[in-house]
């Protein structure tokens, strides 16, 4: 097995903040890219949390400590494997340094609103001349063009505007929000994918390009079948809770204990019979009404009641293993703690340990794949604010210590937020 990481040698200047952009660069960093996260002395990544800290549960136990902005749990999870500098792009000397960095980098990624990079004098037309092989990835809320181009989008916005929220809901109930950040990470994966397309293109042609990854446009593809269907039929499906157009039974059933649930899905008549056998209910199996999917659909309310009568007395993981033993699709509805402790994820090395110099030890999740069967270790914790100013300026740009000090004195760079 190769010791090189897949994206060794790819350098990314990461101007993104909060979630959607940083999760995209997390994917690249995890695969070995050198990601340099660039905040500003007066423009820190708000995902670090308020400068003076707030809810204790956003920090490790004993937090938030002297520098809360270095201890935020969320920030430290998504920004692992990245280097961090704090450079003021509102100052001409900051822009000059950025240009020098861009000249020796492969990717610049940003999620500002459309005019911002141009206001810094750093839009693609400038960067392309500087470095024709550079790939610039922009993640504007609605796109650089169109009537909503200056509008603000975060995760809940595409949930509402893609159609997904309208399609989702309990039967007879209103449209329901999904999670609020579901499409942030959808966009992250899409932006990482698009960046890789551009990297492949560059390998073949030597040329960079401008990539635009828009959350709503990535999002609507995840309800694409409903869009296609509506364009043809003029209809869309009614909200049907946890039920399914093809499978009966298909639902979420209460189990013993507080807020404990299991989902069960029966794909065909053979699985239905195995479910009956696993539950020990011969009477269900011989009941003519339930023998076919049409019959089960007709009597779905009663079926769901019967099934819940059985699950309600049992532990959700016990139900899962009993039904899986019988080759029936079933899964406990795990909460975050159960996910952290799950034996399958544990054996698959889904969570990896890292120690952060100020926040301490943490277990951080990887993405949904393994290459070559082994999880890649986390190489470094998330950067403290401005942590790698000296390292980057000296190593990449050859600046002397006195030049670096002058930049600090001029607040062009900073090792703490100046707000």
């Amino acid at each position: 097995m190769s010791l090189r990481l897949p994206l060794d040698g790819v350098r990314v200047l990461d101007l993104t903040m909060i979630a959607a952009g940083p999760y995209a660069t997390q994917l690249l960093a995890d695969m070995g890219a050198e990601v340099i996260k660039i905040e500003g002395p007066t423009r820190y990544d708000r995902y670090r949390g308020p400068l003076r800290g707030r809810d204790r549960e956003d920090y490790p136990p004993g937090g938030p400590g002297d520098r809360p902005y270095n201890q935020g749990t969320r920030f430290n999870e998504v920004n692992r494997n990245k280097l961090g500098i704090a450079l003021d792009l509102a100052k001409p000397s900051g822009v000059a340094i950025f240009k020098r960095l861009a000249a020796v980098s492969d990717v610049v990624i940003e999620n500002y609103s459309p005019r911002v990079m141009g206001n810094f004098g750093l839009d693609y037309s400038v960067l392309q001349v500087l470095n024709p092989g550079l790939i610039m990835v922009s993640m504007p809320g609605f796109g650089a063009t169109g009537p909503y181009r200056n509008y603000v989008a975060n995760g809940p916005v595409p949930e509402a505007m893609s159609g997904l929220q309208h399609l989702t809901g309990y039967a007879g109930g209103p449209p329901m929000k999904i999670s609020g950040w579901y499409y942030d990470q959808t966009n992250s994966l899409t932006a990482a994918f698009a960046t890789l397309v551009a990297l492949h293109h560059r390998r073949r042609t030597g040329r960079g390009q401008h990539v635009e990854s828009v959350m709503l446009e990535a999002a609507a593809l995840l309800v694409g079948e409903a869009i296609v269907d509506h364009a043809v039929t003029g209809r869309s499906p009614d909200r049907m809770g946890n039920r399914h157009s093809q499978m009966v039974p298909h639902g979420c059933y209460r189990c013993a204990g507080e807020d404990a649930w299991v989902v069960i899905a029966v794909r065909n008549d053979a699985e239905w019979r195995r479910l009956c056998q696993a539950v020990g209910r011969l009477d269900w199996e011989t009941d003519e009404r339930f023998a076919t999917v049409e019959g089960r659909r007709l009597h779905e309310d009663e079926l769901d009641r019967l099934i819940e009568g059985w699950t309600a007395e049992r532990d959700h993981r016990e139900v899962t293993s009993m039904l899986q033993e019988a080759a029936v699709p079933a899964g406990a509805v795990l909460h975050a703690g159960e996910v952290m402790d799950d034996p399958h994820l544990s054996e698959r090395g889904f969570f990896q340990g890292v120690v952060h110099p100020e926040a301490g030890a943490a277990l951080l999740p990887r993405a949904g794949w393994l290459l070559g069967g082994t999880p890649l270790p986390i190489r470094r914790p998330a950067p403290c604010f401005g942590e790698h100013n000296g390292h980057i300026l000296a190593e990449l740009l050859g600046l002397m210590p006195e030049e670096i000090r002058a930049l600090e004195d001029g607040a062009v760079i900073s090792s703490r937020p100046l707000v």
Binding site: I178, L196, A198
Partner: protein, 401 residues
């Protein structure tokens, strides 16, 4: 016109349903040649998939199939026959990547596992998408999309707190896995140039869902806190967490009211309700969510969602109208961006569908309609593999293709 970014890559797509096909749709859209391999006579089950219980679906008109399989070629091949497997190995030798989504035992059981394919073709990238991954205690568990959503931790976070969790519409866990598979496949292909050899990419739908857990597992580990669903309100904020951040009814439907907690005076101004600017509310935020909702509701109930959207956005607040699918098709932003594209399909006619997931200035997203079952048998068996028409006929008569 510039060639697509992935031009030159050939991908054999053995996958069915959603996860694998969404991955290969993305690869095809940016220029990879994707050859979809389906069972003779039957094809991918989604060809007949209905979106509603009462819907009848003609085999070449299923919306899910039409959406997921744009840009691909279709050949038929029976992998249960020895001669079918021989043909597959020939195709593998001519391809850069194989994408499959069978249960982990299936391909090795047919003598087509990664070790076999790699020995024939060392630079092959094989992407296997399965519910739980190629290893681990749940490896052989049966799953549907909802099962992976549950075990991955996302389902617990959706729905009303006082009743059962609620699954998002559609096969969302599978879509996520398709995205992970696309990123991982391109990563492995990128690595291949330097490493000289391919890789087995092992994508787990459950893990793709768990990727969405937003630091909650670590927060549990630190504090024993379990983040719970909160209905229309975004879950996971502490009592002083940002508010408003919720969906509320308005005159003609529903609107997401998002201010990220920074725009109190603007919310009060927009909704003509000075009490919303009360510093006590700003300090309390989430803890007084019900009171804040009650102050906002009268104004919301007397305005339409698009008006609310435009007026709030003019004040830089991330409100959003909850659009029906029909309204999404009419959305002026997506319209002006040329997002919806049309492709001509021989049976379904003109199919209107969502367009590029991202725009690349030198690598356009191009797409053609989803293929008919076996539409490209002649092109691939005849053209690419070089069998003459007699041989192709023999294969067809023998049920091999």
């Amino acid at each position: 016109m510039n060639a697509g970014g992935l031009a030159g890559f050939r991908v054999l797509d053995l996958s069915w349903h959603v996860a694998g096909p969404y991955c290969t749709k993305l690869l095809a859209g940016f220029g990879a040649e994707v050859i979809k391999i389906e069972r003779p006579g039957v094809g991918d089950p989604t060809r007949r998939f209905a979106l509603a219980p009462d819907q009848e679906v003609h085999a070449e008109r299923g919306s899910l199939f039409l959406h997921l399989n744009t840009g691909k070629k279709s050949i038929t091949l029976d992998l249960k026959k020895i001669e079918g497997r021989r043909l597959l190995l020939q195709l593998v030798g001519l391809s850069d990547a194989v994408v499959e989504s069978f249960s982990p035992r299936v391909l090795p059981g047919l003598g087509l596992g990664f070790e076999v394919l790699r020995s024939l073709h060392p630079s092959l990238v094989m992407t296997s998408v399965s519910s739980f991954g190629q290893t681990g205690p749940y490896r052989d568990y049966r799953a549907t999309d909802m099962v992976c959503l549950a075990l991955g931790g996302l389902l617990y976070l959706v729905g009303e707190p006082d009743r059962e969790p609620l699954k998002p519409w559609g096969p969302q866990a599978s879509y996520q896995a398709g995205l992970h598979a696309a990123v991982a496949t391109l990563t492995a292909l990128y690595q291949r140039e330097e490493a000289g050899v391919g890789e087995h990419v092992d994508v787990s739908v459950m893990e793709s869902v768990a990727f969405q857990m937003h630091s909650y597992p670590q927060m549990y580990r630190y504090h024993g806190k379990i983040v719970r669903r909160e209905g229309q309100r975004i879950a996971g904020h502490g009592p002083t967490g940002h508010y408003p951040d919720t969906t509320l009814p308005c005159q003609d439907g529903f609107v997401h009211v998002g201010s990220s907690g920074y725009h109190w005076e603007d919310v009060a101004l927009l909704m003509e309700e000075p009490r919303l600017a009360d510093p006590a509310l700003k300090a309390a935020q989430r803890a007084q969510a019900a009171e804040i909702d009650a102050l906002m509701q009268p104004w919301l109930s007397s305005h339409d969602k698009l008006e609310i959207f435009h007026r709030a956005q003019a004040l830089r607040m991330p409100f959003a109208p909850v659009l029906s699918v029909g309204e999404v098709l009419q959305d002026e932003q997506l319209g002006q961006r040329g997002y919806f594209q049309e492709a001509s399909h021989p049976v379904a006619g003109l199919v209107r569908q969502p367009g590029p997931p991202a725009r690349l200035s030198e690598s356009p997203w191009t797409t053609s309609a989803a293929p008919l079952l076996g539409e490209h048998n002649e092109e691939i068996y005849g053209g690419l593999l070089g069998y003459d028409s007699g041989e192709v006929a023999r294969l067809r008569d023998g049920g091999v293709i």
